[in-house]
């Protein structure tokens, strides 16, 4: 039930400020996520990327505007944002390590507990189809999974909430290159199934290849933005800010 026309962005953020006590970590960020797009936020360590996503999810208090689907979500608690279709896969995954994979997924649908059971079960089955590895391990506790499986579980758990906009915080963190490719492939697949994506990554080259648009965050502000292809073509940018691949040696 979108209250606005299809070409207004799904998520609109205007002049967002987030502080830890006296220290401002995000200092006036504006960004848009259009419907059905993958938007990526890249930037060096400590730029405020996680802070931005945590604030958008409602885990941290913030000042400024944020509308989802035309509705002001800036003052909402986490569970209301979830119900409106916003969902975050945190940098730390935040799984329930002592609980089974199946229980983690069941809890992912906690915000939908008043919906008929059938709908949630169908989504659980769809999740298992998307990640067959999780189905094999559904009785295992989440803490015993490998890093890649854990990331899959974190994404699968988030999908159980049926997000319109999925926010991913460094999904490639700590994963082997092959698994990173797999995770990013899953992300583009999700977009194809209609979920819009806001993704934070340090692995700039890899993420810009699947993204439509990118923002470069530096010290809590947006230093640069543009189409993913344009940013990717800007070799100097990649090397200066993002120090990856060849750039690492140069920095």
């Amino acid at each position: 039930m979108s209250g606005t026309s299809p070409d207004t962005p799904l998520l609109c953020v205007r002049d967002l400020h987030v502080s830890y006590g006296p220290v401002e970590a995000v200092g006036g960020i504006s960004l848009d996520v259009p419907r059905g797009a993958i938007v990526s936020v890249i930037g060096p360590n400590g730029a405020g990327k996680s802070t931005l996503l945590n604030a958008l999810m409602g885990l941290l208090p913030s000042k400024g505007q944020a509308t989802l689907d035309g509705r002001d979500v800036a003052a909402m608690p986490v569970e209301d944002r979830l119900r409106r279709g916003l969902c975050l896969v945190s940098e730390k995954r935040e799984l329930f390590a002592e609980m089974s994979v199946a229980d983690n997924l069941a809890l992912g649908a906690y915000s939908r507990r008043h919906e008929p059971k059938g709908a949630v079960e169908a989504d659980l089955e769809a999740g298992y189809q998307r990640f067959p590895r999780l189905k094999e391990r559904r009785h295992q506790t989440a803490g015993t999974l490998s890093g890649g499986e854990r990331q899959m579980l974190a994404i699968a758990r988030a999908l159980m909430a049926r997000p319109q906009l999925l926010m991913l915080d460094e999904p490639s963190l700590g994963l082997a290159p092959l698994i990173v490719a797999e995770v990013l492939e899953t992300v583009s697949e999700l977009r194809r199934s209609g979920v819009s994506i806001l993704i934070v990554e340090q692995n700039a080259r890899a993420v810009l290849r699947i993204a439509d648009y990118g923002y470069v965050l530096e010290q809590g502000r947006i230093a640069m933005e543009g189409d993913a292809a344009t940013l990717l073509a800007d070799e100097r940018l990649i090397q200066t800010y993002l120090g990856f691949g060849k750039g690492e040696a140069a920095a």
């Binding site: 002592e98 609980m99 229980d103 809890l107």
Partner: protein, 346 residues
């Protein structure tokens, strides 16, 4: 010590152990979800026993005034929050619930206290009066602290304990009371006469523990509580409200306390401070479990009950001293194990 005496002591120990187990499980549950060491758990037991005793004598218990006062305080806090700017309907709903439920319970109690509706009705009334104390204490004393450290909330818990102890003395007086047993009589088991009340206590405790295990293991709401205990941020991310989880846990703790009070009232003389001792013994069992493991807490409670029972045979004067001295070896043993719960975990 003859077989008969040994068996009777075991019966005593198991009965008390079952009570301590309920308390220990409630303490572990409250601590793991909220990081609050709920010292006043024992006072809830006292209030339950003494309220039951008053109702049995046909008078409305003084504890009613306490829950009405707590309810009005909680409603006031919600109203204050509303005026301060959080104009959500959930605030108003909470304010109405906190204010009106205790008043309704009070009205019901005054209307039926002398009417002689029987023992079972009195138990229902006790549950209605005492169970809400859990969430009310949480709302009035602990919620305003926000995300306080374990030490902070422990200090507040101690304060609540003393306030409730004092209020208990005011409401019920210093005399001890004992209610008639739920079921009278004794039945021989392996040649040992076992009191029916002891069987009731153990049976009720076992049923309550199984129900609790099923609730935590099988229902979404129970899993949500466990999830909150394991990972608060993760729980928030899937839409579990920490406050709601806390409220629920305190409701369950209120229920466990009320149940214990109803069960102990016929087997011990309960004074205004008896619950505190029961709570402390439950606490020792909970410490034995590192405030984290439910099975260990139950096991610890039963062992403690037996230990207490046999030490009362050999040195009855020092029974409590011996039991509380147990805390030292237990703490030593815990400190040697590495799997205890840390105060701040990432």
């Amino acid at each position: 010590m003859s077989y008969l005496i040994g068996a009777l002591l075991a019966q005593d120990g198991l009965t008390n152990g079952a009570i301590y187990a309920l308390i220990a499980l409630a303490l572990v549950m409250v601590f793991s979800v909220t990081r609050i060491i709920f010292i006043p758990q024992g006072e809830i037991v006292t209030y339950s026993s003494l309220s039951l005793a008053s109702l049995q004598q046909g008078t409305a218990p003084g504890s009613i005034w306490l829950i009405v006062a707590l309810g009005l305080l909680a409603a006031g806090l919600e109203g204050f929050g509303y005026l301060r700017g959080d104009r959500s309907t959930s605030r108003l709903r909470a304010m109405a619930a906190y204010g009106l439920v205790p008043l309704a319970v009070a009205a019901l109690t005054f209307a039926t206290a002398g009417a002689g509706f029987g023992f079972l009705w009195n138990i229902v009334l006790v549950l209605l009066i005492v169970v809400p104390m859990g969430p009310l204490i949480y709302r009035v004393a602990f919620r305003p602290l926000g995300d306080a450290t374990v030490l902070h909330s422990l200090i507040v818990a101690m304060a609540v304990h003393f306030v409730l102890l004092g209020c208990g003395l005011l409401a019920f007086g210093p005399e001890g009371v004992r209610t008639p047993p739920l079921i009278a009589g004794r039945f021989p088991v392996f040649g040992v006469p076992v009191s029916a009340q002891a069987m009731v206590v153990v049976a009720v405790a076992i049923v309550a523990i199984i129900a609790m295990a099923l609730y935590f293991g099988r229902t979404l709401s129970g899993k949500a509580l466990r999830a909150t205990a394991f990972n608060r941020v993760g729980a928030r991310l899937v839409g579990i409200r920490t406050e709601q989880a806390a409220r629920l846990v305190f409701l369950l703790a209120g229920f466990a306390g009320a149940l214990c009070g109803i069960l102990v009232a016929p087997i011990t003389t309960v004074y205004y401070d008896t619950g505190f001792l029961i709570g402390l013994k439950g606490f020792i069992a909970a410490i034995f479990a590192g405030l984290a493991s439910y099975p260990l807490a139950a096991l610890g409670a039963v062992l403690l009950g037996l230990f207490e029972s046999y030490s009362s045979f050999f040195a009855s004067l020092y029974k409590d001293a011996i039991v509380f001295a147990l805390i030292i070896p237990i703490l030593l043993w815990r400190s040697l194990r590495s799997t205890h719960v840390e105060e701040d975990e990432e």
